[in-house]
């Protein structure tokens, strides 16, 4: 185990870091990819999850630069405003972005997907689950980070049948109608699980006849399942999920969740480290002309859930 690295070169291995935008189980899967790629490409690869938002992420990146890192992959929390920090990092080391892009910065490449498009996939699942339309409530951890905003907007636009417009933003408090659907609102919980659960419960109290719930952060769907089960409304209220929490996948198997949109966090981690390792060796050919490695999101439904889950378990080694 790397216990006390002190600058590049002491162990001979190149050092790269994978910085996330927060602490979440989603990133745990990514860190499995980071580890696997680190072993495969012979680099010291570390996953860092800032617990304190933007200020914490900045501090982490600065300290990584101090440590003498050979490459950093980062998921910027607020790309538009973190350009300065990213450029500073790009000056001192190889910098790539993952999960959330910062196109205006000097990052070498973006590895990930388009959250707006993934959101649209999610919206499509809603329409698929409810061909006749109905009322929908959206749950999400926070609305501040760029990827969350875009994901939600994609979902809304797809449900309402709007054309693609990633720059659009509907305020969370407004009720939106169209295409036979009524989007009742978007509730955030700031990662407070008790509140996340209370949000779902209060929705049932306020709108007893709600038809569909969409959970856009990995932990939202499990909390929703929890509440629906306690309220005896499993299956009655359609559920659309995002990401691949175990409870979500189990729900899809049982049919209580219609489907989920999965990114591929494992590949985010793996690809990021792969690219950084190659760059560190001086191989710049890994960067395509469009400076984008697409790791597309996928829709998982009852028909492909078993295969997906088995694959996931194999990759993260959580099958035991």
């Amino acid at each position: 185990k790397p216990s006390a690295p002190s600058g590049s070169g002491s162990s001979g291995k190149k050092k790269v870091a994978f910085v996330t935008n927060g602490v979440a189980s989603f990133w745990t899967i990514a860190s499995a990819g980071v580890k696997a790629a680190g072993e495969k490409f012979g680099v010291d690869a570390q996953t860092l999850m800032p617990a304190e938002g933007i200020v914490g992420q900045k501090r982490m990146i600065e300290d990584l630069l101090t440590r003498g890192i050979d490459g950093i992959a980062v998921s910027p929390i607020d790309p538009a405003n973190q350009t300065g920090l990213l450029n500073e990092a790009a000056k001192r080391t190889k910098l790539v972005t993952h999960d959330s892009d910062a196109p205006d910065s000097a990052r070498l490449i973006y590895i990930g997907m388009d959250n707006y498009k993934a959101g649209r996939l999610c919206g499509d699942l809603v329409r698929e689950a409810m061909p006749k339309g109905g009322s929908v409530m959206i749950f999400i951890g926070r609305l501040e980070q760029d990827n969350a905003k875009r994901r939600r907007q994609g979902t809304i636009d797809a449900i309402l049948g709007r054309p693609e417009n990633p720059a659009n933003f509907d305020p969370p408090g407004t009720v939106l109608e169209g295409n036979g659907f009524k989007i009742l609102g978007t509730l955030t919980d700031e990662f407070n699980f008790a509140k996340g659960k209370a949000n779902v419960e209060d929705t049932l109290a306020k709108h007893p006849d709600v038809n569909c719930m969409v959970g856009l952060f990995a932990y939202n769907p499990p909390l929703m399942l929890e509440v629906l089960q306690q309220a005896g409304k499993l299956g009655q209220v359609k559920m659309i999920a995002f990401d691949e929490d175990d409870a979500t996948l189990a729900g899809i198997q049982k049919g209580t969740v219609h489907g989920t949109v999965v990114q591929n966090p494992y590949m985010y981690g793996f690809k990021s480290v792969e690219v950084l390792a190659e760059l560190a060796k001086g191989n710049n050919a890994v960067i395509p002309a469009n400076k984008f490695i697409d790791i597309p999101a996928r829709q998982i439904r009852k028909d492909n859930v078993d295969e997906f889950w088995a694959d996931l378990k194999a990759k993260t080694g959580s099958g035991k």
């Binding site: 927060g22 602490v23 979440a24 189980s25 745990t28 999850m49 617990a51 969370p172 408090g173 407004t174 009720v175 609102g185 509730l187 955030t188 700031e190 990662f191 407070n192 699980f193 008790a194 996340g196 659960k197 209370a198 949000n199 419960e201 209060d202 049932l204 109290a205 306020k206 709108h207 007893p208 932990y219 499990p222 909390l223 929890e226 306690q230 309220a231 175990d246 409870a247 189990a250």
Partner: protein, 332 residues
């Protein structure tokens, strides 16, 4: 119980307003939810109230909730401990933390604020350490254990409402706490030392032991709360599970009539305080679409509550004085 009249009236008012504005409020389902949330907050608030009554403060409540809330599923699902062993472990840790705080505060005479502030940082750090920052939960297992938090007890002759299991814990805890505080010698000792520790010591009270007991009660109830919270939500993330709960708990206790100067507090008041906080949040959810100003509203209500309480007290005192004066000047 004049002290909690104001807060009870406020609670009633908020309930009435919400009931008028939202049909869902009085539904059995919503009331069950409110009862369960109040129970969870109430349990930790009672704990913190004991510390406040002895003139101390405990800022580590939220972190103990996190430590137990993450520790229990971690032990059960990741370390494969047996259920009794895991329960015993979290109970021991909770009590141990209380003893640790109490001993440092009484024997080394370090301010409770500082000791428990360190606790706030440490216990969450430890939970993040052993879970490796990963979300832990029960998956679909341990449904029996989870009934402790999710179970519903049907009440005879009442339809459409079943009592959530945490309420039973709350009622038992509140009853025991009230008896302890008001009917036992230890309870009286705590009230006395909260007012004047030196005089209590000179009266032959082992004040150090009483203070330690108060911190143990607080940590134990925080641990119980943490267990129920995680059994209820089924999953916990160490970075933010229980964040700021100490502040809610203290707010509930203060709303309920505990004075931070020590020596004052009623258990019923604390329950009313906890219920008020939960009903306020519920109200904002049910009647508006702006949940992000929830905190602003709770903060404002809390502040207005204590200010009104203070002003009413002053007014009452002035009236009493005036009446006494009148009685004196009137020829008898």
């Amino acid at each position: 119980m004049k002290k909690i009249l104001g807060i009870t009236a406020l609670l009633a008012l908020v309930c009435i307003i919400t009931a008028i504005l939202s049909e869902g409020f009085l539904s059995g389902y919503n009331i069950e939810n409110l009862a369960r949330r109040t129970a969870l907050l109430g349990i930790i608030s009672i704990g913190v109230a004991f510390v406040i009554i002895t003139g101390g403060i405990d800022l580590s409540v939220g972190s103990v909730v996190c430590l137990v809330g993450c520790g229990l599923p971690w032990l059960l699902t990741k370390q494969n401990w047996s259920m009794p062993a895991a329960l015993a472990a979290v109970a021991l840790v909770s009590v141990g933390i209380g003893i640790f705080h109490g001993v440092i505060i009484t024997k080394l005479r370090i301010a409770p604020f500082v000791v428990t502030l360190c606790g706030l940082m440490m216990y969450r750090g430890i939970a993040r350490g052993f879970t490796q920052d990963q979300t832990v939960g029960f998956g679909g297992e341990f449904t029996g254990l989870r009934t402790l938090a999710t179970g519903q007890i049907s009440i005879p002759f009442v339809d459409g409402f079943t009592l959530p299991a945490p309420c039973v814990f709350l009622l038992v805890a509140a009853l025991l706490a009230a008896i302890f505080l008001n009917r036992t010698i230890w309870g009286r000792y705590m009230l006395a030392l909260g007012r004047n520790e030196e005089a209590a010591r000179y009266s032959g009270i082992n004040t150090d032991r009483m203070v330690i007991v108060a911190y143990v009660i607080c940590s134990a109830l925080s641990g119980l709360g943490g267990m129920l919270y995680v059994l209820d939500s089924n999953t916990a993330q160490p970075v933010d599970f229980g964040n700021f709960y100490e502040l809610y708990a203290i707010a509930a206790a203060v709303l309920g009539g505990c004075s931070l100067r020590g020596g004052e507090g009623t258990i019923v008041g604390i329950l009313v305080g906890a219920a008020l906080i939960m009903v306020l949040r519920n109200m904002i959810m049910l009647t508006t679409n702006y949940t992000n100003i929830e905190f602003a509203i709770i903060g404002a209500v809390l502040l207005i509550g204590v200010i009104a309480d203070e002003l009413v007290k002053r007014y009452a005192m002035r009236r009493r004085a005036a009446r006494a004066l009148l009685a004196e000047t009137k020829p008898s």
